[in-house]
Symmetry: none
Subunit: 130 residues, 4 copies
DNA sequence: GTGGTCTAGACCACG
DNA sequence: GTGGTCTAGACCACA
């Protein structure tokens, strides 16, 4: 389920966190679902168990998943709502960065809106939702 | 003019780059304006000259500013006409990713447009609509 | 009767011990009362029988309960008088440490007494004054 | 300044966290003070730098200390007030545990209050404020 | 089998 | 020199 890009500048544990959040948001994993154990996931993505553990701990700290001692790790009930809240701040920052870049590429806000429409259509129509 | 937050997760040199770009966008500094020297700015923001130098080099690489040997560093004239194909493709892809994420967070295209306007105002003008 | 919080940082077997003591304290279970068997309790609280067993063994070691071969586990008569003078010294030392910590946190002796009353009520009665 | 007990059941990183908090509460280290670097402290207490790092990260997450990239780690301005808030919850739980234990030792709430007075006097008079 | 802790040693970005 | 990341391998408590 999780794909790690070892060439990425982003640390492996952050990639795990990010992708796990996406899986929650997409509904691929649902509240109550059991996640692969630290060792299992480490084997699957070919990483060190400690790295996976670090990702799981951060996700737990954020309240996305929870650990039941000796039984494994599970998705919490409120995972999706928590994720959505944090996402808004993150996305506005992304938009801000993007607009700064756009300016230096000679792209104005109007053009960005046109693109939004274009992409919106292609996503709905073409079912390229991934 | 430039405010550094030493507690931020963002490296200082990136904060300098980011804020210098915004100053250009807002028109606080205009094409042809002379920027403070590396050592001056380093003194002002209490940072290592190497750090400021790294930021200036990156800004120069992006064509935002230019260094005239022995005369100092200046904002370039044609900063806004760097339009190149690669950048456009890249930004549309960024927008696409962002819209997909927005979709899973329950954010629609209309909301994104509203945010674009908000951010556009805060970047150009002064009022922080955030 | 016993409520386990699988999310708690406290091990399940400690939660069982703790709650069993409280049940004795509140008088919900009295000396001579038969406790559920290891397997019964394990089923009720959805835990591993080994875990319940570990809790019962510790309670037995402390003299709170006793196991009668083939007949089950019972609350002892003299549960409350198992503790000796050494315990008193230990508790006064605990109190002393606690008062020192309280001092540095700006909590005075009066506040500690108020808390004692609060906690005393919640343990004996039912209303959670917390 | 920090003493680690390798025999303690408490993990080393928690001992560091705990003792650092006490040093803050006591005012031995003040807001703005620079803490020993990860490597320095690791050398001093004879532990692995990673272990010290883990402690520092947790303290930073709690807002007690802050990291200035490449410059070191410092005590935050609001360290003491934050510590005091968290301490209240912790101490009430300690008191609760202590009262349960007291019950089994035949000690009532009145006796505890008397002890509080006794200890309070000895701490003020004898300057045994360890 | 599960996660939690610790050590040792390596490499990297930042300043 | 500073912390951040990752790997490898060990041991322990809990269930």
């Amino acid at each position: 389920m999780i794909q790690i890009d070892p060439r990425s500048a982003a640390p492996i544990y952050e990639q795990i966190i990010e992708q796990m959040k996406i899986l929650c948001l997409k509904g691929v994993v649902k509240p109550g679902d059991k996640l692969p154990s630290v060792r299992e996931l480490a084997t699957i993505i070919i990483a060190n168990p400690n790295t996976v553990s670090k990702a799981y701990k951060e996700l737990e700290r954020e309240g996305i998943i929870e650990t039941l001692r000796g039984r494994g790790t599970y998705v919490t009930e409120g995972a999706q709502s928590k994720l959505n809240e944090g996402k808004v701040v993150e996305m506005k920052e992304q938009l801000r960065q993007l607009m700064i870049e756009a300016h230096y590429a000679g792209i104005d806000i109007h053009q960005l809106k046109v693109w939004l429409e274009e992409i919106g259509s292609s996503l709905k129509g073409g079912k390229q939702v991934d």
